[in-house]
Amino acid sequence: MLSYIIKKIIAGIFVLLGVVILVFLLFQLVRFNPAYASAGEQANEQTIQNISKELGLDKSMGMQLRIYLNNISPLSIYNTTDQASSFFLDDKKYNYKKIISFSDKAFVIKAPYLGRSFQTNRSVVNLMSERIPNTLVLACTAILFATVIGIILGVIASIKPNSLTDSICTAGSVLGISLPSFFAAIVLQLIFAYMLAAITGFNLTGDLIVADEYTGENYLSIKNLILPAIALGIRPIAVITQITRSSMLDILHADFVRTAYAKGLSQRIVLFKHALRNALIPVITSVTGWFASLLAGAFFIEVVFQYNGIGLETINAIKTKDIPVAMGAMLFTAGIFVVISVLTDILYSIADPRVKVKSN
């Protein structure tokens, strides 16, 4: 089991490395000189050159990649004396701890350094870590809601295939799949936060953490979470319902379900104990896949509700050509996917004991 997990983690690290390099190359392709963005429109040639130098843009592409990788890697080697070096261990940039020092070099462990925002000059890592909790709360709520409802609907639909209940569940989920999330978001906004606002008390837009208008104190506003979470959850519900249903239908024909009935078990126990756990395996894939993409930024939803998460931040960064932030967001997204897929593999082996054997 442990070696299985280690193997998965090592594979994940390689995938991440590939993504880091790919992201770097992609932004090289954009062929946009970030020095202009950083310096503003009125900057003169000298300023641009200085900024280019500061950002390392005068170096060759290979050198830039090396600097970039060294900055991202949690374990890295830096120069401790030469301030002009691109690998100088700058206290202002890095939050590090030295492991070993040798002559003018140091081997350090540090938080990844993703540069600073061109717009606000804030560290990208700090910026991200401010936004991540918001997105995390939104994505978790949405996926929890979608998983519970989706599995229940799927099981109900599978008990009597082609019955009225089944047809309603299927029709509903087809509608859910075909409904674009931003459209659902706008409709929900219109109905619950505008027409029925007096009853529900929902806001059209709003963040999870709101500053009180009078005192200026920040407080948590759960009600601002409800509509975005539902809007975000509609498509996963539809997909999870469908997958649970078809998976349950397969399993209900399996021999061991017949064995369970032959034991004298009631339908409820057969369905929820014997069949559901087997049927969950494809559902896990779907749930974790959706969870990863929700975490990576529910772009539309965050924009529609002006919800201050990763998605909104990324959109803003792209609008203003704030390349370090956009790159950071992409890396974060990829990282989330890798972590979730490793977790998925581990979850499989818990749900289905046969997975462990196959991996050996």
């Binding site: 061991f256 004298g264 078990l265 087997n278």
Partner: protein, 594 residues
């Protein structure tokens, strides 16, 4: 001795409604089960034997199935209940408790995500209202009763960690857990090796006597029935065509269908030119009425016995020619364990140093228990699996050196027929296209028109109609599908065909027809076969020489009759002893000792 009636089945009918109309799967049958006896129900697939058992358990899926009439009178200490009339909640109290069931497929009949112990506990907790701890104690005792070694380990094991025989023992333990009055066993040994089958049959008989219950034993194989049953019901197309004691059925079968079932199993004692089939004993007219032919089993068998001298002559003639296939020191290993860095640290030696020659026109039988490497050997020979070491020379060419492209003309001459006719035909391809495809791949014949003619010709060769060309596989029965698979293998005019358990999934009566077809084709086209099967009687019927495999190695090789009659190795002897022979003398000795 007054016999205690347990179950009185009266005029039971179970129908299935399908798009094609109503199927009378069980059609007005009546029989009784008494305490302490084992009743065998025999018949081919579709005869209604499984539906009968599921009807007794009230496990018929509705829709499409429904018990339309009849009574299932169960006599117990509280009087007589009609199992059909009681509500489902009451039925659940009997199910798994007083009437329990063992199924055919031990591989799929246990829930893969729960431990074996957990699954047996569940029935005990449900019906006997025990605590978890008490249930575990009882389960461990049951495991001891069904002779599972190391009960603690089995208790914690998941089904996939056990062998087929062990799983079936767990199933038996589960079915026995509440000391049922009636145990229904639906083909419980069909998926198992003969040696394992033997031990399971002994175990069931032993446990039945200990808890004084009765067994309804369902199978398509009269040989197995001979080993265990006291009384036999023969079912055909939803009806019971004959019932009687085991001796009556074997000594003096009245119905022609019973006679054909008795005759169509390859006999062990003699060598036959062809096997008797159902149509030798009876024919059915358009309305489904059975017209009996006036023959006895002995008359039919007498006509097709091959004298020993002829067999010997054929063997010497065959071995005069250069071998068509020469295998030297062939090894095929599969990695089972890898270190963290991908280095293989442990292998399964599926084929372990095998050397043998196959002569043109010969049929070489390959027999052994599951996991002995016979299938891997077959697949390695045609390079579906790459060997680890060794050489294979086919028609004078070392085929292991050939590239994929160079292999293509060689493949034309080597074909394989797989075990499961249900999964080895593409369900979305018409029969015609499935047969035409290999011809197209190998650019045989000038155009599609000629190919179509050839396909129709092939279909007729395997006794199928020309108008099946545009039909899809799901419209055919297992036996018909296997004939289509045979036709597909013939499409390229191969010289050499590997039959990998090609008849194992078929009923004995259908098996006889397919075996006869293979023998007939061998005569007509001069094929060389490697015939792989776990069933020694089938291998012996088919082959000139027989190879007994065990743990990847050749245990014994020689002329088929010699290997059977004078086995040199303990392993071979064990295999032969385990075959349910269905001989009258064996039945009599079993009954006298009981």
């Amino acid at each position: 001795m007054q016999k205690e009636l347990l179950l009185d089945v009266k005029n039971l009918s179970t129908h299935f409604s399908t798009d094609g109309g109503i199927i009378k799967a069980v059609d007005n049958i009546s029989f009784q089960i008494y305490r302490g006896e084992t009743v065998g129900i025999v018949g081919e697939s579709g005869s209604g034997k499984s539906v009968t058992s599921l009807s007794i358990m009230r496990l018929i899926a509705f829709p499409p199935g429904k018990i339309v009439s009849g009574e299932l009178l169960y006599h117990n200490e509280n009087g007589i209940v009609d199992l059909i009339k009681i509500p489902d909640s009451e039925m659940r109290r009997y199910r798994g408790n007083k009437i329990s069931m063992i199924f055919q497929e031990p591989m799929t009949s246990l829930n893969p995500v729960f431990t074996c112990g957990n699954q047996v506990d569940e029935a005990i907790i449900l019906h006997q209202k025990k605590t978890k701890k008490e249930a575990k104690q009882l389960t461990l005792e049951l495991f001891k009763k069904v002779q599972l070694p190391n009960g603690e380990r089995i208790y914690k094991a998941y089904p996939h960690e056990l062998s087929g025989g062990q799983k079936q023992r767990v199933m038996i333990a589960m079915a026995m857990s509440c000391n049922p009055d009636i145990l229904i066993a639906d083909e419980p040994t069909t998926a198992l090796d003969v040696t394992v089958q033997k031990t399971i049959l002994e175990l069931m008989a032993d446990i039945k006597n200990k808890i004084n219950s009765s067994i309804i034993f369902i199978t398509h194989d009269l040989g197995v029935i001979a080993e265990i049953a006291d009384r036999v019901l023969v079912m055909y197309k939803g009806k019971i065509v004959e019932q009687g004691t085991i001796l009556e059925i074997f000594e003096n079968p009245k119905h022609p269908y019973t006679r054909s079932l008795l005759a169509c199993r390859p006999p062990l004692g003699k060598r036959l030119r062809k096997l008797p089939v159902t149509s030798d004993f009876m024919i059915e007219d358009a309305d489904g009425n059975i017209i009996e032919k006036d023959v006895t089993i002995n008359e039919i068998i007498h006509d097709v016995v091959v004298p020993a001298s002829e067999t010997e002559q054929r063997l010497t003639d065959l071995q005069k020619l250069e071998p068509i296939l020469q295998i030297k020191n062939l090894k095929t290993y599969f990695p089972v364990r890898k270190s963290l860095f991908g280095k293989v640290t442990q292998y399964v030696k599926a084929v372990d140093d095998i050397t043998l020659d196959v002569y043109p026109g010969e049929t070489l039988g390959l027999v052994g228990e599951s996991g002995c490497g016979k299938t891997t050997l077959g697949r390695t020979i045609i390079r579906l699996v790459e060997p680890t070491e060794g050489s294979i020379s086919f028609m004078g060419k070392n085929i292991l050196d050939l590239s994929v492209k160079e292999m293509k003309p060689v493949r034309k001459n080597m074909q394989i027929i797989f075990q499961d006719p249900y999964s080895s035909l593409n369900p979305r391809m018409t029969i015609g296209n499935a047969l035409k495809e290999p011809m197209q791949v190998h650019n045989l014949y000038a155009n599609d028109k000629e190919r179509k003619e050839k396909v129709i010709d092939l279909l007729q060769k395997v006794n199928m109609k020309a108008d099946f060309y545009n039909r899809y596989p799901h419209e055919f029965s297992g036996g018909q599908r296997q004939r289509i698979c045979i036709a597909r293998a013939l499409a390229l005019n191969p010289k050499f065909i590997i039959c990998d358990e090609s008849v194992s999934a078929l009923d004995v009566s259908v098996q006889a027809q397919v075996l006869n077809l293979l023998i007939h084709l061998r005569k007509e086209f001069g094929f060389t076969y490697i015939f792989i099967s776990h069933d020694l009687s089938v291998v012996k019927f088919m082959s000139d020489r027989m190879v007994v495999m065990n743990a990847g190695k050749i245990e014994e090789i020689g002329p088929a009759d010699a290997v059977y009659n004078q086995p040199q190795k303990e392993y071979t002897r064990k295999l032969i002893d385990a075959i349910p022979s269905g001989e009258l003398s064996d039945i009599k000795s079993r009954l006298s000792t009981a």
